[in-house]
Amino acid sequence: RLKNPLLFEQEQLFLPVWQICRFWLHGRYHEMAPNVVPMDYTKDPDVKLPMQLIINMPELKENPFKERIVESFSEDGEGSLSFNDFVDMFSVLSEMAPRELKAIYAFKIYDFNTDNFICKADLEKTLNKLTREELTAEEITLVCEKVIEEADMDGDGKLGFADFENMISKAPDFLRI
């Protein structure tokens, strides 16, 4: 079995213990690519799984932003996750993580072009993913304009993190991301 290589403690994570218990998560990680991921982590192998594998997890499979989620948690921004990143992702997405942290990652997720702003292009992408491209072009532009009009506090025509956080912190529904 594993020789306690996965030394996560609850101080670091927002996961219930049965998920931390080192076999569960690693099991999930391992089962995606049994021949790549070693069972023995004591030597800290530098193993990364490509995004394609990860977004097929049942937890993410149906999520319209799965690629973005994985990318924003990967250290290289390319979408491949090391086991550490993987654990991190689970921790942040778990329901025990605080709103503020989630807001930070939500911002990253919605910031498609990673320029630290949610601009119109990002919004359009978000909308298209969310609605599976069922909205017409006019509707999309209208919604994007409205969104920016509502949330843009500094008037720069795009949403910075401050805008986003301000908006999201007031949302009654932003409980679970």
Binding site: K3, N4, P5, L7, E9, E11, Q12, F14, P16, V17, W18, T42, K43, D44, P58, K61, E62, N63, P64, F73, E75, S82, N84, D85, V87, D88, L93, A97, L101, I104, A106, T126, L127, L130, T131, R132, E134, L135, E139, L142, V143, K146, V147, E150, A151, M153, D154, G155, D156, M167, I168, S169, K170, A171, P172, D173, F174, L175, R176, I177
Partner: protein
């Protein structure tokens, strides 16, 4: 703990990546967090070595803080691991050095924390149905799951209630109470013993069940039972009250917690579209079908929002909607009345049947309850149809629907309990009263009683049935006369049956059972069989069953939650009379949980309309609280109003149930306690206490009101600040546009100027420009608006100025002076034009730098951000404007970088110069200065010209709109202030190297101080600073010559800059800072210029860039 052995290995393995991570860390730190990178930790270690325990302790505390909130930081995991390990090491290393006790304390706390965590984890494992709920969540989203979470929560409450009643009432009675059959109240009457085991009897909770611990009547009246003398009656009463108390407390606690959680989101601000976009997706969904319907729902909701948005513009036809709503409400009322009438009709009919028939069929016996249950099932759907008429917002619709259903359920429960209490009334009436009642009642009574007498011969079961029917009847109408008859029959038949408490308990339990049966039936019928039909018949049907009429059932969260509330209400109502009711409810809830979750997963589809009744939603809880209160009322009323039955129950023989308390106090407590109690319960104490309570409530309420008020005010404040921010941004945008204006005119000027300007000058003009721009946007707002050009263009243009300046310096490094005089005039002409342009440029800079500044505030990250911009700008300039060769390029670059580093810092100085000159020229305040300066100006036209060019504009502005500008400047400048200050200090340092170090330092300090101080200081200082500046000035030239000195100066300056840096931070908050600053520096710059010119303006050009770069690096 397991981590300890493995960590070295990991660390070793990671050492190779260390460099990378370090880089990352620094980047990240600057991005989000105040610094505590490795280096700092290390520094902390070293410090800790040498310092006193207090500091060690603080360091440890700091590290612990890191450990405790590390998981809240948005770092990649690798970094978190590192930081955590490091912090732990430090703590381990130094904790031993502290005093023993402190170490022990910490260790103890740590142990306790670990234990708590373990315990918590242990508990978490045993949360029931967690996986089941998670699975449902993944299929249906959080809304449906919230129903199950609510159910689970209710389950928990019921468990506690069960434990309370079980441990303190039921178990003692079973263990120590008189055994079954020992007393009259615990034996089945002989007439009924034959039928006591019939299914019929059991079904109606008669027979053996009636004489069991299930009901109130079974409990003995002995004050003490068992060897230990357990006071069962007292316990019975107290537990009965504790059930309510506990429910109240737990409910209120939960509500308070939720409201605390949702407090942050309690605001009137509306981000309709944002929320629909960013918060729409339910991240828990993992099922393709659910995802599809969710996407469809989101599309719907967005379209809806668009429609609403468009309809806002149209004038709505209010009359139609209002009339429709009125109609809908009338319909709802009609259906409510109709349901009541139907119940009444059925009850009446069943009564008639009972009278005429001797043997009733199963249907006839259960007619009433079936009809009632049917109505409770059907009416909500009818309400839903009606609600479609009203055209409310979906959420409002839902609330209305819930309210109506709640009214319906409450009506049912209340009519039942009223009927029961009526019955109790008549049951407790004495024989003589019965006669009176009979005589008072209507003429039909006589016949009724006769028929009843016939019924008396019927078995007990029959009578029970009648009673139930009666109660149903009373629900709707309260036909007291028939009740009276009923009671007569009871009374005459058997005194043993007169236990009204048992009767009420039976009714409640029966209701609960029937409710359960109907729930199961409805789940099977409405969900399961419908699903089966739809799935398997749709192939051979003439329309598409799956998408048209019957469809698959949707899980109606609201109705189901309401049903839970209703169910719990029944439990609360009957718990006092039937101590086992909570236990029964626990079983029921378990069954419901499994059945519902199975049904939801097998035959329901995720529904289209999303009502996010999340965990933090108090709506359900409020309904539950309402229910609890309303259900408690009848019970309390019964306890307070009625005399307990004579022949059964723990309180038999007492006048009132609650007498048990006073009786216990009287008999079993010492007399002094008794007297104390009498005092306390006397009006002398009670009235003031009540008054006090009222006062307290009033006080707290007023406090809450004032808090709300301040809350509102704060919010308003934030809002106004935001709007001001917005205005500022708009102004900046305007400034950008202005910039474009300037660009057009610049090229010409530059060509003229290029040859003459030195690098120093070029830098200064820019800085002036930057400084100026703060002012100019405000002053020239009107003019600015007319100009329209894109912002990006503006930046290159401004850059152009610099390169232009730079190029000459590189090529003709030492000979700026000669041509200056001739060129000067043209420049002056252009000055006005140029100025705006420069200003704009700086404004654009501001805009760009601004977003970053808040984040990077303490560090000099600005440089990092700004650099790229500048380089870009420079490159562009090189390519387009000047078209100069390679030399230009080189010259430009260093310049540009330097500009950046210094620019923001220097900008002030230069701005100061420019402003100061302006002041001298135009202001009457400093006439003396003007005189002095003028000559200098003329002499050093090279240096001066740029200043002059810039100056005229600002001066005009100042005259026109001094105050406005100042304010504006200050604000806009704020973010930058830090960076500005530091470079300035360095610059001076170089000067100091020549020997005026002290002076320069003083100056720097003065500047900073003045910054912090108000305007008054400025007025005094300008001359002062001025002189000093003169002295200092020569040095800049010196620097280029001797780089060593420069370096020295740098080191010195560093210390100063540190000091100064703290000031700027403070000052950044101060809005007036900039104005002051500009004035102070003004003299300096002027002095510098003058001296430079006088000695040698030549040397400055080349060396300066390099110096500056160095200093920055």
């Amino acid at each position: 703990m397991a981590a300890a052995p493995a960590s070295p290995a990991l660390r070793a393995a990671k050492s190779c990546k260390k460099q990378r991570t370090v880089k990352r860390q620094t980047g990240i730190y600057t991005y989000q967090e105040p610094p505590h990178s490795n280096s700092e930790d290390d520094a902390g270690e070293e410090k800790a070595e040498s310092h006193d325990p207090e500091q060690i302790f603080q360091n440890i505390q700091y590290q612990k803080e890191i450990m405790s909130n590390i998981r809240c930081r948005p770092w990649p995991m690798r970094q978190k691991l590192r930081a955590l390990r490091q912090a732990k090491e430090i703590v381990l290393k130094y904790e031993g050095r502290l005093t023993r006790t402190r170490g022990y304390q910490a260790a103890g706390a740590e142990l306790w924390k670990k234990f708590l965590r373990l315990a918590y984890n242990f508990v978490v494992i045993f949360i029931p149905w967690e996986m089941r709920i998670k699975k449902i969540e993944s299929h249906f989203g959080s809304g449906v799951a919230s129903y199950f979470i609510f159910l689970r929560w209710l389950f928990g409450i019921n468990i506690v209630l069960t434990i309370m009643t079980g441990a303190f009432v039921v178990l003692p009675e079973l263990l120590a109470g008189a055994p079954f059959g020992s007393t009259l109240s615990k034996t089945i009457p002989k007439e009924h013993i034959a039928s006591a085991q019939d299914l019929d009897t059991i079904w109606s909770l008669g027979g053996y069940l009636q004489y069991s611990v299930l009901f109130y009547g079974y409990y003995g009246r002995d004050r003490k039972i068992g060897k230990a003398g357990y006071r069962l009656p007292l316990a019975y009463f107290l537990v009965g009250m504790a059930v309510f108390a506990y429910s109240f407390i737990i409910l209120l606690k939960k509500m308070a917690k939720n409201s605390r959680m949702s407090l942050a989101s309690a605001s009137d601000e509306n981000y309709t579209f944002c929320w629909r976009l960013f918060c729409a997706w339910d991240y828990l969904i993992g099922n393709p079908e659910a995802a599809e319907s969710k996407a469809a729902a989101i599309v719907n909701s967005i379209r809806e929002a668009i429609l609403e948005e468009q309809e806002k513009k149209k004038s709505k036809n209010l009359a139609v909607t209002i009339s429709l709503r009125i109609i809908a409400n009338i319909l709802v009322l009609l259906s409510l009345a109709g349901s009541i009438y139907i119940i009444y009709f059925v009850v009446d009919r069943s009564q008639r049947l009972e009278r005429t028939k001797k043997e009733l069929t199963l249907w006839e016996k259960n007619e009433v309850s079936v009809v009632v249950s049917l109505i409770t099932m059907i009416a909500p759907s009818a309400f839903e149809l009606v609600a479609a008429l009203e055209m409310y917002h979906p959420r409002t619709t839902l609330r209305f629907q819930l309210a109506r259903v709640l009214v319906l359920y409450l009506g049912n429960l209340y009519s039942l309990i009223i009927a029961l209490l009526d019955k109790v009334d008549s049951m407790s009436v004495t024989d003589s009263d019965v006669n009176n009642d009979a005589s008072n009642s209507t003429t039909s009574l006589a016949t009724n009683t006769l028929s009843k007498d016939d019924n008396l011969t019927l078995p007990n079961v029959q009578i029970q049935r009648n009673g139930f029917v009666m109660s149903e009847e009373h629900r709707t109408q309260g036909l007291t006369d028939s009740l009276v008859n009923q009671t007569i029959s009871f009374n005459t038949q058997n005194p043993q049956d007169q236990c009204w408490e048992t009767y009420v308990g039976q009714e409640m339990l029966k209701l609960s059972i029937i409710d359960m049966i109907f729930t199961v039936a409805s789940i099977l019928l409405i969900d399961f069989f419908r699903g089966l039909c739809v799935r398997y018949l749709s192939d051979c049907w003439c329309w598409d069953l799956e998408s048209k009429f019957p469809e698959y059932g949707e899980f109606k969260i609201a109705e189901n939650v309401l049903h839970l509330v209703y169910n719990q209400g029944m439990i609360w109502m009957g718990a006092f009379f039937s101590p086992c009711l909570p236990a029964f409810n626990v079983l029921k809830l378990i069954g419901l949980m499994y059945l519902r979750s199975w049904a939801v997963l097998t035959c329901n589809v995720p529904h289209q309309q999303v009502f996010r009744a999340s965990r933090s939603n108090n709506f359900y809880l409020a309904m539950l609280l309402f229910m609890l209160f309303l259900c408690m009322l009848p019970t309390i009323f019964a306890i307070a109003r009625y005399k307990p039955s004579l022949s059964c129950g723990p309180f038999s023989g007492q006048e009132k149930i609650y007498d048990i308390v006073s009786e216990t106090i009287q008999n079993d407590f010492p007399t002094w306690f008794n007297t104390v109690i009498t005092y306390i319960s006397s009006p002398v104490v009670v009235l003031p206490a009540l008054l006090l309570l009222f006062m307290l409530i009033y006080y707290l309420q007023s406090i809450a009101r004032s808090l709300k008020f301040t809350n509102n005010q704060l919010r308003m404040k934030i809002q106004t600040e935001r709007t001001e921010d917005k205005k500022k941004v708009v102004q900046m945008a305007v400034a950008r546009i202005q910039n474009l204006d300037a660009n057009d005119k610049r090229p010409e000027q530059e060509t003229d100027i290029i040859s003459q300007e030195s690098s120093v000058r070029s830098s200064t003009p820019r800085k002036n420009g930057s400084v100026l721009n703060f002012e100019s946007p405000v002053s020239k707002g009107t003019r600015i608006q007319t100009i329209s050009q894109s912002v990006p263009q503006a930046v290159p243009a401004t850059d152009v100025v610099r390169p232009a300046n730079a190029t000459p310096t590189t090529s003709t490094s030492l000979t700026p002076a000669p041509s200056v005089s001739s060129v000067q005039k043209p420049r002056n002409d252009h000055i006005t034009n140029r100025y705006p342009s420069v200003v704009h440029r700086s404004a654009s800079e501001l805009c760009k730098t601004k977003p970053y500044t808040p984040v990077t505030f303490k560090k000099h990250t600005e440089d990092v951000h700004s650099d790229p911009l500048f380089r870009k700008a420079i490159r562009q300039v090189n390519s387009d404007a000047l078209g100069a060769g390679a030399p230009v390029f080189l010259g430009c670059r260093p310049y540009a970088t330097r500009y950046f580093l210094v620019n923001e810092n220097e900008s002030r100085k230069k701005s100061l110069r420019s402003t100061s000159r302006l002041q001298r020229h135009f202001r009457k305040e400093e006439p003396g200065d003007i005189i002095e300066l003028y000559p200098r100006h003329i002499r050093r036209y090279v240096v001066r010209t740029p200043h002059q060019m810039y100056s005229p504009h600002p001066s005009e502005d100042e005259e026109d709109e001094e105050e406005l500008e100042k304010e504006f400047m200050n604000r806009s400048h704020r973010p930058r202030s830090l960076s500005d200050l530091r470079p300035a200090s360095r610059f001076y340092i170089g000067d100091r190297a020549d020997g005026h170090i002290l002076m320069s330092k003083d100056l720097a300090r003065v500047h900073y101080k003045s910054w912090d101080d108000g305007f008054e200081l400025d007025l005094d200082r300008p001359p002062y600073a001025y002189k000093k500046v003169h002295l200092n000035y020569p040095e800049p030239r010196v620097k280029p010559k001797s780089k060593q000195k420069l370096e020295q100066s740098l080191t010195e300056s560093d210390s100063i800059s540190i000091e100064s840096s703290s000031d700027p931070q403070n000052s950044s908050n101060d809005q007036y800072i900039q104005v002051i600053h500009t004035k102070d520096k003004y003299p300096k710059t002027g002095a510098k210029l003058t001296k430079k010119k006088s000695k040698n303006s030549i040397d400055l050009s080349m060396p300066e860039p390099s110096e500056l770069v160095c200093s920055n690096v």
